[in-house]
Symmetry: C2
Subunit: 419 residues, 2 copies
């Protein structure tokens, strides 16, 4: 089945919004065994939208469109579908009733143009939208299934999950395994994976903020056995660098499983470590507290750090990072403290302590790195590095990604991991 | 000039990674007065990549490609350019020297396949990559400029800014104004903007987590005057709902400008408010500290909240939200305290306190909402709501988005804003 995603929105092409819908949909489809072969982004232009619909219908079996279902002047999905498929728009009184009711409930004034959202192309199946006024629709045209969903992710996602996926789920004729590695460069991971996979399967790698995603795909009758074998060997070869999920999920899961309480003290990462951990449900059982101690006064008051220590070493230093981690554990009663202090920039750097220099501490262990990129990149890399140190500690491989432990890694995979 | 963005990476089509590069590039291009008309995403497949290059060259004047320049087996950008444009790959010893040096410096083992990155299509200009081993390249083919850049944002962005943008910057033949609104539904904003803009310009709206982005575009000789007039009137009509930037930037700027110190106490948002504020440089002058007090013990110890208050009202309550905001201001010495407590889910909800119920407090003012969506959505909406309350307070319009102040808004724009 050839699947195509069509995102509409001038704002996507002007870069105002990042198109997270396409990625989310692709992920859901991959899990259902479906692969996306084309992704088009089209601006809010009637003619170009009609052309895009026709192109998609000519080469794909399933077309998933997001956006353009709002009530405003530049929402063309309904009318473009009317034009492309010769399906006059029909007024559906039950939709109008639901829209009116929604506005009444939220005590929000309804603009007259909201009535547009009660129209769908003739013969289309309406897809309910519990989180918004714009209903979606599904229509079959020849052999092509065309699904239109609203753009806001919190409206699109439940619609897809509850009303679209059950209709299109198909038996996969391939198997995919995903794993993650943290702390090794992409080329090294590639060498390892290629050495194991050879010509028995296809694979892909992607890198983001220090972690490499490995995706292996097998086909044929024995695809499950082959995949089991390959993934087991990749896992073993990567040793402690291997993770079976995203870093924050892996860490949170491990903390919860082992009932290890944790507390976080952040300076330059500004709450990002805590934010990433709290994305995972159930973390409240083990995350006792997190503090963002930007000011020296707050470091002293909240964490009990001796101002003389800051005076002597500077706020961005190994000694202060350690004192923060130990301090937050002590004051909160958590069994492990995690801390980061650094220079996120763009200002505040010096020759001795350049922008990007960060100290990450887990318990009494401190490691330092100079991260490149802008303020946001530096925060992200430092938060990831600290979370990975915590992960290594939880699996009993503390220091693996740091100055020690390289020999062990070298033995396992025949290469020397990144310092 | 017709501009096209081409993103390559199977992982983008499988949804492993969100394509933030396309959005970032579009934004930079829009500021330079260039508009992107096409965006294609292509998987790591030699043949489809060659086809995509040819299609782009046939319809666009400037093609910006990201990805596929890594050293691994599935990086096809160099070879696909060779094939599509009949430009044999050339070995550039100076590139190889730079790659070797980079590996030496980082004390990382170099895999043999890294040598691939020292090849570029014949006649291409090399684009230096200060943050990685993969150089980019620019080639001119007939009237088309083709630019290949690496996929990791921290490598692509400086390359584009320093080596590509200066080469392609052109005089804009249109003007664009961007503004944001927070607290009004999209259809209401649309009615307001349409009433003002009429047929004098084109405009687009996009919604994300409660904020509406308004983008007005004018053409012709008087485009700057027309844009000034329209934007001034939209601004006035939106009143306190208007923002001239993203919420976190507007709030941070205002705090810094007015030297207003702030402290944050978060429960269900888990550090997100603090993370968003600390994305803005200079915030360290005014953000004294932030605490994530997940546990009741931590609410008592860190914020001085009487456990009896939590016992009486529950941790998710108006009284506790207020006590958190006042408590964090008092203990940190900040002039304003901001707090959120709520049920982020998926567990922990009850009939009286459902998943999504959040109390947001700024100083002693508390507002409550029931947000829909998943854990991540709820965190985002609650953090945005609290930041907007802080913004309104800083501009002297406290309560505007809440239960009071609707009359004022209704008078200003002839409609009643969302509660």
């Amino acid at each position: 089945m050839n699947v195509e995603i069509l995102s509409t929105g001038t704002e996507l092409l002007r870069g105002k919004n990042v198109d997270t819908n396409a990625a989310w949909l692709s992920r859901q489809l991959a899990r259902a065994g479906l692969e996306v072969l084309h992704h088009q982004t089209v601006d809010d232009h009637f003619g170009r939208l009609v052309d895009a619909f026709k192109l998609a219908a000519s080469r794909s079996d399933l077309v998933l469109l997001t956006g353009g279902l709002g009530p405003t002047e530049d929402d063309y999905t309904r009318t473009a579908a009317e034009e492309a498929f010769h399906r006059p728009l029909e007024y559906r009184p039950e939709l109008w009733k639901r829209i009116e009711e929604r506005f009444r409930k939220s005590a929000t004034r309804m603009a007259a143009i909201n009535k547009r959202q009660a129209y769908v192309p003739k013969g289309a199946t309406v897809l309910p939208n519990p989180n918004g006024t714009a209903p979606g629709f599904l229509l079959r045209e020849g052999g092509v299934v065309f699904v239109a969903m609203p753009g806001p992710p919190n409206e699109m996602q439940p619609m897809f999950r509850d009303h679209v996926l059950p209709k299109i789920r198909a038996t996969a004729d391939f198997s995919v395994w995903d794993g993650f590695s943290y702390g090794l460069p992409e080329a090294t991971v590639d060498e390892i994976v290629l050495g194991i996979v050879g010509t028995r399967a296809s694979y892909g790698l992607t890198v983001r903020s220090g972690r490499v995603n490995i995706s292996i795909r097998t086909e044929g009758a024995r695809r499950k056995q082959v995949l089991d074998d390959l993934s087991r060997r990749v896992r073993a070869a990567l040793g402690p660098c291997f993770m079976d999920g995203e870093l924050n999920e892996v860490v949170a899961r491990k903390l919860i499983e082992t009932k290890t309480t944790v507390a976080v003290a952040e300076s330059c990462t500004g709450g990002l470590i805590s934010h990433r951990l709290t994305e995972v449900a159930g973390i409240s059982e083990v995350l006792l507290e997190a503090v963002v101690t930007y000011s020296n006064a707050s470091k002293a008051a909240r964490l009990g750090i001796d101002p003389a220590l800051i005076e002597e070493h500077g706020a961005v230093s190994e000694a202060v990072a350690r004192a923060m981690a130990l301090g937050v554990a002590r004051t909160s009663g958590a069994s492990i403290g995690v801390a980061v202090t650094g220079v996120a920039g763009p200002g505040g750097g010096s020759e001795r302590k350049p922008v990007g220099l960060c100290y990450m501490a887990v318990g009494d262990r401190v490691e330092s790195k100079v991260f490149s990129g802008d303020r946001s990149n530096i925060k992200e890399r430092a938060a990831g590095y600290a979370l990975n140190m915590l992960r290594l500690r939880l699996i009993g491989a503390e220091g693996y990604a740091g100055k020690t432990g390289q020999a062990a890694a070298g033995k396992a995979v025949g290469v020397r991991p990144r310092r």
